[in-house]
Amino acid sequence: MLKVSHLSFAYERYGTLPNAQVLKEVSFSLNAGETLLVLGAPDSGKSTLARIICNLLPRFIAGSISGDLSIDGESMGQRAPWDLTDKVTLVGQNPQEQLLMTTCADEVAFPLESLGIERTLLVKRVHKALRDWGLEEMADVNPQEMSGGERKRLLLAVADAIDAPLWIMDEPFDDLDEHWRSQLLKRLLRKETAVLLFGSRYIDEFRGSFDSYAMLSDGVLTFGEEESIVLAYDKECDARFSPGVGEISIGSVHRFAGKGLEIVHPRKSVNSTPFSLQVKEFHVESGEIVALVGPNGSGKSTLSRVLCGLDPSVAGTLHIDGVAKDQIALRTQVGYLFQNPDYGIFLPTVRDELGWSLRHDSHLSKQVQEKMIHSSAELFHLDCDDNPTMMGYGAKKHLQAAVYHLLERPFLIIDELDSGVTYSAAFEIISLLRMKGAGIVIITHDRSFARNLAQRQYTIIDGEVRETEVGA
């Protein structure tokens, strides 16, 4: 049903750098009802391939393409994306990029309206899809007021309502809790639907579920048996980056501590209620790595915002080296790497971005600044002339880290680094940031990630933050 032959694609780059080849002679075919799992590191071209199959690239993002793509025997060369609405459905990694309407019902109805489905049948399909994914009560709720997991389910409800014969999914199991994961797996294994699923991590749900397995690495797609693909993928992830980096030099040891904190956690969804997060005790010291673990929606980001001085706490105090600090003082001492690196990027080149951190340091000469910028860029695998807004996600995370590396904050909070970059890349970034002795708090909901990195761990259980065993 889907046949891809010798597909190559390169994004157009702006500036002085050559085009980046993302896909190299990718060939494969998928028959009706078949399922294929493609493992690939973040930035390996998975989303690119997914969008090309839906005919959305290079239509919307400039690039050069060669090769052939056909669906149901018909070559897709000159077809428009809207002709594929009833043939292929893409369930992207980020629902925010795909959701269009102001209520859940409208969202599910929109593609059905495009397909010209008669009204009574349309209404039935909308309500069935919402029901199947547990969203019936939220039919009139604005998706902006829903949690990440609920939005994922909305995307799945849309896909279900359209019921196209081919589903392309990019990390669909993220953000879903156990019940919905099994529901999703059941739905994907139905014989009428061909599924092409991209993942950057091999999760339990994948075991034995798919007809074929493949790996996408450096733009090349290789097939193999389940075991061998998983092993090869693990090896590749490890090989890319060097895990630990030498000795860390701690000048003076600082201690960042909080006592008796009470934080109000705003509600993430109309279904949840706001609650208070209690932190009896919390501390990080220079050179330490502390994990903050909790399920989605438990308040990790909310706590982090208080720790770095962006939001106030309702009660309690925060001290650095025994001195109480207010919000403004905290901001100069505690850095926060947002999960989304786009929030800080606005300059034309990497050199400019890194240089911006130093611009207020008048005591550093131009030459010294240049040198610092160059060494930072090199450490983090960045090219000084690259345009930050056009870089891939992983590269942007490295840039974000490089910026904070230059700022030399004594304490850093890193939000969900492991989702979006490989484990090895995450390890490397963290060890580079530790080099100058920073105390680091990593936020994650992945316990094995915490276990591999952190020396201590705080876990959020039922609105309370407690120190627990690492990896608990």
Partner: protein, 253 residues
Amino acid sequence: MTVNTFIAGRGFLYLLDARSKLLLVLLLCVMVFLPISQWGLWLLCVFAFLTAWHAMGFTQALQPLRAILFVLVLMTLFIPLTYRDGESLLVIGRFTVATVESVQNYSFLVSRFLAITYLCTLYLWSTPMADINLALRWYGLPRNAALVLTLAFRFIPFIADSFKMIKDSHALRIGEQSSRRQRLSDAIPTITAALVYALKSIPHFAMSLEHRGLGRSGGRTEYRKLKAKGGLFTQMLVSVMIPTVFWLLFNTL
């Protein structure tokens, strides 16, 4: 940021169809600018306020008044400066504070402004945005324009959240107590980052629109439909009759 403009309530305001209600509001707004007596205008204001009170409660009904309070105060302060060569009404010392004409003018302006404020606000509060959208389409707004309206409401909270995050991210990078001048010069990076972020999302949304079938030949169907209680024609008739009768009663021709 909440983009909700609808306020639940009771009464005939909620029974009227969005289309006929729009016509009613429009005609009444036109009517207040036609030659009409003061009593008519003030009566209209009182009607509007009472309707608001019945529909949404006293506190909510006061809201439009609170929003324009300062304008009203300003208008009051300007009474001495208008129509200075009229029949004096209020004199303090040798200074004519108010003339009959200026007070009459003031009365007309205030009642007119109040009426328009309440009419527009009540329409907005008693009609869900989706219905207003459908009403505008019925009156001739092209489908794609209506889509832009829906999408704008969808994007507002998204852009608002990202703007906040961008501000926070910059605040953390800057750190120190910066001088006012530094803070001003840091406004441009924040605004630039916010705009770039918004611009980058455009191709993604366009992709989603086309992926979901926008542009397909063969005509779109409609999930939402407006239904007028008692029939649209009857409601439109009522919408025309109310301002007509009102004007016939209170006009000053």
